[in-house]
């Protein structure tokens, strides 16, 4: 790193735009800025710090936060007036020219009441003659990579304020950084360990999912188990479907039979109806038959007799028939009356013993015998004829009646035959289908079976759903765990690498640091001996505190230090550091496993380096510093410079002078 120039614009007492250029000639690498007290030497040093890091350390009584030139502030005062403080630093780092510019705008809220707005930092670099600005937000990182803030105090060295370098707090970090060990140290710190959660290894370790593998195995087992179960259930559903098809076919078959049976039942009912009708008809027929036969039995004889009657009458045509006699009176009736002794009229009938004679009544009644059979048959024949006539009359309706009755019977017979025929047909059609109860039982059984199958299917589907969700959740767990496991593997690899690096750093770092400290001590002693005219030597402890020892009677004892001695000691230490920092940094036990990198040489910007140093020391310091540092910028008072000038003159590339115009205005004279 080489600083080319610094431009101040209204920065504190440097009113307006003033540029200070530094010598970058390797042989004449010293730039001397002369100025007495309160001329602004420290302000320039702070301008470096402010420009690079945004920090400026001014005495508390000098309004340290107000950077704007007071005269400008007064002159430009006015409400809503704006004015900018600006410091621009031009430097070379690793063969690249950087321009670092920090601006601090101020606005006047009230008359002369300037408020600072946010400062703006821009870093640009030149690449092949073209100026490019680094990406927004990258500025700090760039600056830190050029010159870490932690080390700035050694390169922008305010000798007066930091009187004793050894009283500073632990310098190990800073020194390590300067010596190029900081990166390694930071790396080591960054890697950390498993127990430190904030470090890389700690984070990785914490991220390791140690129980994940077990859970993944478990999830995988669940997936396999549930998948098997699901397949089994699906098989069951397929079987159930098959069985359902068969059962439905059976059901249909039986239903058909039962439907037929319904018609059979209907037919049976019809048959019963017909049988009932038949029964009625049969009874009616029977009754008719009986009536017919009764009629036949009673009346047929007369009908059969009819032709005979004609014949008989024919025979009687010539018979003598007179009807004087009393109808139906018979000979025996007369004799009975005679025997009784009184007529029906009441007249007494008297007859002699021989019966030949008697009273008048007897003779009358005896006379009647002449008109009676056998004496007289006319009446009998007449009677017979009348009887026949009566019979003929009675039987005149016999044939139509019996014919009618017979027709009736025929009708019944036809009806019966029709009924019987129907019944027979029904019987034929329902033959062998009488027993349906077994089919109904089968039907009920099949229906129950179908219901059972459907229930089973439903249950299987439900279980499959459960299996699927179990599989899904297990799969999720498994996937997450597998990715976790992949991450675990990666993390384990990281940790292994990191720990390997750590152990390598741990192995080499302490050694290297010790070596570096030894070398630093050696170098510092070397420089110190060149600077100091007495017999003392320097010892650097682990905190990089520098202690001076004196040799008294062969014994090394800690000695008291004057301000001058302290100054010398400090310069020796810083010079040692800068000198050592120029060297190539390496790390590693052996050449093979070592890594090395180029360290950048650093400038020394020193404010009042020679104060409290005597002439000899000033000369000694002046001869050493340009040798060890590649660029030396010194802000010195003229009274101190006169001692150094004789020694350093050959190395001075540039002289500058501060010219104090007023308390609030200094000019740089290049």
């Amino acid at each position: 790193m080489l600083i080319k120039s610094i431009t101040l614009n209204n920065f504190r007492q440097f009113k307006g735009k003033q540029t200070l250029e530094f010598s970058s000639d390797p042989n004449k690498n010293v730039t001397v800025l002369l100025g007495d007290n309160t001329f602004g030497k420290t302000t320039i040093l702070q301008a470096f710090n402010w420009c690079l890091y945004g920090l400026a350390d001014f005495p508390k009584d000098s309004n340290p936060d107000f950077l704007l030139n007071l005269e400008v502030a007064n002159e430009q005062a006015g409400i809503q007036q704006k004015f900018e403080v600006c410091v621009e630093l031009n430097l070379f780092h690793k063969d690249t020219e950087y321009i670092v510019m920090r601006k601090q705008p101020y606005v006047d809220r009230a008359y002369g009441n300037w408020n600072a707005l946010n400062d703006q930092l821009t870093v640009s670099y030149k690449e092949e003659g073209i100026t490019k600005q680094v990406r927004n937000g990258e500025e700090r990182n760039i600056i830190n990579s050029i010159l870490p803030h932690s080390l700035s105090g050694y390169f922008f060295f305010d000798t007066e304020r930091v009187s004793d370098i050894s009283t500073r707090k632990d310098l190990s970090e800073a020194v390590r950084g300067l010596l190029g060990l900081a990166a390694v140290g930071n790396a080591r710190k960054h890697l950390g360990s498993r127990t430190l959660k904030g470090t890389a290894i700690g984070q990785w370790n914490a991220s390791l999912d140690s129980v994940g593998d077990d859970r993944a195995r478990e999830a995988q087992e669940t997936i396999i188990r549930e998948t098997e179960k699901k397949e089994e259930l699906e098989g069951e559903i397929v079987n159930s479907d098959k069985e359902l098809v068969s059962l439905n076919a059976q059901k249909e078959k039986i239903a058909e039979i039962l439907r037929d049976n319904q018609s059979t039942a209907e037919l049976q009912r019809q048959k019963q109806e017909l049988e009932k009708q038949l029964d009625t008809e049969n009874q009616a027929l029977e009754s008719c038959n009986r009536l017919f036969l009764d009629f036949y039995n009673n009346a047929a004889i007369i009908y059969f007799m009819q032709p005979l009657m004609d014949q008989a009458e024919q025979c009687l045509v010539n018979a003598n028939v007179d009807d004087c006699g009393i109808r139906d009176m018979t000979e025996s009736s007369i004799r009975d009356i005679i025997k009784r002794g009184s007529c029906i009229c009441g007249a007494l009938i008297e007859v002699d013993e021989e019966g030949k004679a008697g009273n008048n009544a007897y003779m009358h009644i005896l006379d009647e015998l002449k008109y009676l059979p056998p004496t007289h048959i006319g009446t009998a024949i007449q009677n017979f004829k009348q009887l026949l006539e009566s019979d003929r009359r009675n039987s005149s309706q016999f044939y139509p009646t019996i014919e009618q009755k017979y027709k009736e019977i025929q009708k019944y017979r036809d009806t019966i035959a029709y009924l019987e025929e129907n019944i027979a047909r029904i019987e034929e059609s329902i033959f062998g289908k009488e027993n349906m109860s077994s089919f109904e039982a089968d039907m009920n059984r099949i229906k129950a079976e179908i219901k059972r199958m459907n229930d089973k299917k439903e249950r299987c589907n439900r279980d499959i759903g459960a299996c699927e969700s179990a599989i899904e959740s297990a799969q999720k767990v498994y996937d997450s765990l597998v990715s976790a496991s992949v991450r675990n593997k990666r993390l384990i690899a990281y940790i292994a690498y990191a720990e390997k690096i750590c152990s390598w750093i741990d192995d080499t770092y302490a050694e290297k640091e010790q070596e570096m400290r030894g070398r630093l001590q050696e170098r510092v002693n070397d420089i110190f001996s060149r600077m100091y005219h007495g017999e003392r030597r320097v010892q650097i402890d682990k905190q990089y505190h520098v202690t001076l020892f004196a040799q008294i009677n062969g014994k090394e004892v800690v000695t008291g230090e004057s301000e001058g001695l302290k100054r010398v000691k400090n310069f020796a230490f810083i010079a040692g550091l800068v000198d050592l920092a120029k060297e190539k940094a390496t790390l590693g036990k052996t050449v093979v496993d070592s890594v090395s990198w180029e360290n950048e040489a650093y400038p020394l910007v020193m404010d009042a380096p020679f104060s409290n140093a005597d002439e000899t020391h000033i000369k000694n310091i002046s001869s050493v510093l340009p040798e060890v540092a590649n660029q030396v910028i010194m802000f010195v008072m003229e009274k101190d410079w006169q001692y150094a000038e004789s020694v350093m003159e050959v190395r001075v590339g540039k002289y500058c002078k501060l010219k104090k115009l007023s308390e609030s205005c200094t000019e740089i004279e290049n």
Partner: protein, 182 residues
């Protein structure tokens, strides 16, 4: 006449039993007896009693009940018979004048010739009865006799009679008649 039991022997007994008990065409033996007499004359069929152990008796009660009918029938049979060479006067006497039983007190006195004639007449009557029974048996006989068959046979006999009467009224010969199918 017709005032005592009348016993039928032999096949006619069997026939009369068949007609009453099996075919049930007639209720009583006397019905068969009377119809038999009628048909016997009508179709000029006479028969003699045959010797056989079988017998059927018509009791006097039945004859008493059917006394009028029987007497009428007797007269019709004797008067319309064509088998005997009796004169019309003889037949009329048999029907209306002659007495068939001896009665001491009968006036005029009952002659033996009178009784014999009546006896012969009754034999003739009964021979027609037996002949008629045969005809009836032929008409009603069937191996499987039932009431329907009996009715049919009864109607057939009536229809035959109807045809007979019609033919006589029309003056047609019986042989020329076509028998209808039943």
């Amino acid at each position: 006449m017709f005032d005592g039991d009348y016993t039928i022997y032999g096949k006619h007994a069997t026939y009369i039993k068949y007609l009453v008990n099996d075919a049930k065409a007639f209720k009583r033996y006397i019905d068969v007896y009377m119809v038999g007499a009628t048909l016997g004359v009508l179709y000029d069929r006479r028969s003699e009693q045959s010797d056989s152990s079988d017998r059927a008796r018509i009791y006097s009660d039945a004859f008493n009940t059917e006394h009028v009918k029987c007497n009428e029938l007797f007269k019709v049979v004797i008067l319309s018979d064509a088998s005997k060479s009796w004169s019309a006067e003889e037949r009329i006497n048999m029907c209306f004048r002659y007495r068939d039983k001896m009665d001491e007190h009968a006036v005029p006195h009952i002659s033996k010739g009178e009784l014999d004639a009546m006896k012969e007449a009754l034999v003739l009557f009964n021979s027609y009865v037996l002949g008629g029974i045969e005809l009836l048996y032929d008409s009603f006989f069937s191996a499987t006799i039932g009431i329907n068959e009996t009715v049919d046979y009864a109607y057939k006999s009536v229809f035959d009679q109807y045809t007979l009467i019609e033919s006589r009224q029309e003056g047609m010969e019986m042989n020329q008649l076509l028998r209808p199918e039943y």
